[in-house]
Symmetry: C2
Subunit: 222 residues, 2 copies
């Protein structure tokens, strides 16, 4: 995102309208949906893999992967057992609602229970673009350091759920969990938080329970 | 950076002119200059601290810190012994040449040997904005994963030097160094590379030697 100029305001407004269209489409199919955001390399794709592997026996999953180039992540999601679509953004540093709308059109929405969108790795611009998904999830990771809520407040303020990933690295890095969480709390009080290591599997079960609950709520299951 | 539209082209051209102005200003003072870029949390600020601590007894250093908000990084650079200026970009996800020009105006350039610019943590947009600095340095970090050159090719292609940081974490993460380096080589053959752990100090001495060499070259020392 460049500095706020009239064109950028127009782009944001146009995006919001397309996000509303996506929201209505997903609601019409009673589809739960997540938008995963993070720095590059915080573990979004590994979280997608863990989620698909953990739920594919009971739920039907669609994955929209956003990257500048390559289809590496869509291939990983498909290998784990999801229907997947890759968006290549070219030079763009975030997904927008139009790109996601195009991708949703390529998924068999009537045959799915959950759509996971994996955004481009970036802690700034993705926070400014509503995609129409039900839940914004930030994947923070321990080796990034405990100062990130203070330095990227827009992202930390705007999310519904936070995953603190790579907790297996806590003994090997300088990371004060209390300092980190106090920074998060100041921006986003009481945000639902999962401590996790996608690599070792620690904490993944609680996340899967929460994702199942989102699907049941969206479907109106008892 | 949003999709390429005429306004974005205009912004890039205006930026290039301001970058030329910065380049001339730095050359006029025979000042070496580095632009450090990376993902959030790859270790740019710790590299600045190590560089200032290692060189401040023999060289006079200025640091320009770029962040969305806060002056945390400028305080760290100043505590390490540099003259420092903080740029707060607000919503912007990268530094541009105009911001850096303003910051250079706040530094006593005639009394410095080296200026280090620390960009905003982002692997995409900073690569598109020439700042007028002599050398673009990418700080990659091991926990980000070995697929990053493949996914963020513009950044990896455009840099003059690469630091591979956090090598102390290699035993604790999944990172195939050969795969990573083959991806880098395909984009940026023979790029000068430093293996480093800013946390343990491993590899820092070779980096400091290289930085000293840049200063001597710029000054025309024998």
């Amino acid at each position: 995102m460049t500095r706020r100029v009239p064109l950028v305001e127009k782009i944001t407004k146009a995006n919001d309208r397309l996000a509303d269209t996506n929201r209505a489409l997903l609601a019409g199919h009673r589809l739960a949906s997540l938008n995963l955001m993070s720095s590059p390399g915080a573990g979004k794709t590994t979280l997608v893999e863990q989620t698909v592997a953990g739920l594919a026996s009971s739920l039907r999953l669609g994955v929209v992967e956003g990257d500048m180039v390559t289809s590496l992540d869509a291939e990983r999601a498909a290998a784990a057992g999801a229907k997947s679509v890759q968006i290549n953004t070219g030079g763009s540093c975030h997904l927008d609602a139009g790109m996601v709308g195009d991708a949703l059109g390529q998924l068999p929405l009537a045959e799915l229970d959950l759509v996971i969108v994996e955004n481009v790795g970036n802690l700034i611009c993705p926070a400014a673009f509503d995609l129409g998904t039900a839940c914004n999830v930030l994947v923070a990771s321990v080796p990034e350091g405990d100062d990130k809520p203070f330095k990227y407040p827009t992202m930390y303020r705007g999310v519904d759920v936070m995953v603190i990933n790579k907790i297996d690295l806590l003994p090997h890095v300088t990371f004060d969990m209390d300092h980190f969480r106090s920074g998060v709390e100041a921006l986003n009080e009481g945000v639902t938080t999962f401590l996790m290591s996608c690599r070792t599997g620690e904490g993944v079960a609680a996340w899967l329970d929460w994702v199942r609950e989102q699907v049941h709520q969206e479907r109106g299951d008892d």
